[in-house]
Symmetry: C2
Subunit: 368 residues, 2 copies
């Protein structure tokens, strides 16, 4: 077996998906519409993706025997999240075709590698510096300035593993609070808004791209994505173009979501600063299933299975809103609203802040 | 347990679906998007719906023990086809909430009952007469005229169980060829085109309706559905209105698909004649998943689960085309086409004429 698929995974084939949450579930649903079978691999727990999959494996991500069996039972393997242990990734990449590949994962797993990589491609980023030892702190501060944000290099998501600091004293405290783990110190950016570029790249290097959403966060968790974003047309094109450049350099196969800060000066000039990327389908692309002919989930499945990637078309302006925790209990009121596409994830327990579903309000037919 | 749901089936609940084919599969996919679990019940065979379901039961439709267990494991039960044996229907209706209910099934299972019922509601039909005994043949012929179509009253679909007759001799031969089974003789209608009305009715009596597609058949099997239909606006409204009248009289809960012949005179006046109805999602409504914000599958799931039924909105003109038998092997070429939503059913074997998938070409934004 090699890490390259010689031919596309035909209908009836099996796509392996690491991760049993809502993203794995929506990938499995998209695979089903193309006549493909989904096999979900996830550790024990509430795995809503299992309910829509042809097969599932309940095992830890470092269970080598289970990973071997999973690789043997699938035609191609992808994932719904990027924090898979490196040993597991290497094993799967040897045994099967893992897409997106090792390079995308390696970069996505380390904030320092990720920003260094983007920066080397000429993609503007906020100032950043590495923090591995106590003595790195003051050097980093000098380089980056204040205020700044200290983030663990690994395993951060939704604002976890990061702290904002306003002076050197806070910086030392923050680093201690993060367990003296390898960190990156980033200059705090006073941005106008946040946007993301969501693109898909095929094994043949061709890309398909979505319109750029503007993303509103609350407590570091995505709350709304608005399309169109309200950005200048040229700024939107730049975001997409930078995402394509990243995908190309990563030899990425699948959906790539790239988050940017948008800075705007008094004259209205807009500038994009790279924040981070996800080598997978992304929460800020959920509106695509409601407002486009092809969703990010379908494009990801198509890309990793070696299928063609037509350019998706958006038919409506829209706003996607996440349902967090108890908000899912409003499902009856939401189900009553016209022009609203509701999507619930089938999770058992509505813990506070947990992503339980989302809905997309279709506004007017596409305006921009 | 009663045949009425006191409250809606909440997310996390289980919808039972009788039948494991593509309709059951698409219902299961729609249920999943609402956070509902699907439990499929079907006899052994190629059951592509199993691949996307939370649970499945492989058993015959007259296996009482299995039906009891199925009823106990589900919150509401629906079906993808109407030819379920009456004993099974009665058992399920007693044990659980079966939707659409016994009346819709009873009428749909007997072409004579169906046409009599429609006719009694003032819905125009072609002339028809009952044929149960040899001596009924000539009386029926007198009543109906020639040419005519002899159809078995039960278990016909896609042109199976019917024969066109041009004289009395052919009629006797046709009846013998159909095994002297109870039949209906219908006057042959020289129609301009065929259309269908697809509506959903909730347990509260409220309805939601789709635009009427014009349906092209080949060898009695649906080939294309076109939306808009090209009918006069008023004719389209009449079709929808007659379907709603039928649903009301049947106390139907779920999607109801009603097929009509369209007659047009030289002055362009259009007349609708009722052909038949299906108490379920229908092949001529598959375009709704690609061209509307809410599909027929979602509306059926919503209706049988007691959820609200917002009026769906169509955003594109479109044509849906069935992929029959070997045609599914063109999947790569179809997957390459822009503005085309492809849906494959994951069936194992592409037998001649078998429905293997469909695709919907999105034309321009909604025109009419």
């Amino acid at each position: 077996m090699s890490s390259r698929l010689v031919r596309p995974v035909a209908p009836g084939g099996v796509i392996g998906i690491l991760g049993g949450g809502q993203l794995g579930r929506m990938l499995a649903l998209a695979a089903a519409r193309l006549g493909l079978k989904a096999h979900i691999y996830a550790p024990a727990g509430d795995n809503p993706a299992f309910d829509v999959a042809h097969a599932h494996t309940t095992a830890a991500y470092d269970d080598e025997a289970a990973l071997h069996r999973f690789a043997a039972a699938t035609d191609v393997i992808t994932y719904e999240f990027e924090n898979i242990p490196v040993a597991g990734v290497e094993l799967l990449a040897e045994q099967s075709c893992l897409r997106p590949g090792a390079r995308s994962l390696q970069m996505a797993q380390d904030r320092l590698a990720e920003k260094t990589f983007a920066s080397a491609l000429g993609i503007p980023t906020p100032p950043f510096a590495n923090v591995e030892r106590e003595e790195d702190l003051s050097a980093a501060l000098k380089q980056v300035g204040l205020p700044a944000v200290l983030k663990t290099r690994r395993f951060g998501y939704d604002g976890k593993g990061q702290a904002r600091v306003h002076d050197e004293n806070e910086l030392h405290q923050a680093w201690a609070a993060l367990g003296n783990a390898p960190c990156i110190l980033e200059g705090f950016v006073s941005f106008t808004c946040e946007v993301s570029a969501i693109i898909a790249r095929g094994a043949d290097g061709k890309t398909a791209t979505f319109d750029v959403p503007r993303n509103e966060h609350e407590n570091h968790v995505l709350r709304h994505s608005h399309v169109p974003s309200g950005l200048h047309r040229q700024t939107g094109h730049e975001a997409v173009s930078m995402a394509c450049r990243l995908a190309e350099a990563l030899e990425h196969v699948g959906v790539l979501a790239v988050e940017f800060f948008v800075l705007q000066d008094d004259a209205g000039n807009q500038q994009l600063l790279f924040n981070e990327f996800a080598p997978r389908v992304h929460n800020s692309g959920h509106w695509t299933e409601a407002a486009c002919d092809l969703s990010q989930f379908e494009l990801h499945v198509r890309a990793v299975c070696g299928w063609p990637l037509p350019q998706p078309r958006r038919h409506h302006d829209c706003v996607m809103t996440n349902l967090l925790g108890d908000e899912v209990h409003d499902w009856q009121a939401l189900a009553r609203e016209p022009d609203t596409v509701l999507h619930l994830y089938g999770k058992r327990e509505a813990r506070p802040g947990r992503k339980m579903g989302h809905y997309t309000r279709l506004l007017s037919p596409r305006s921009a």
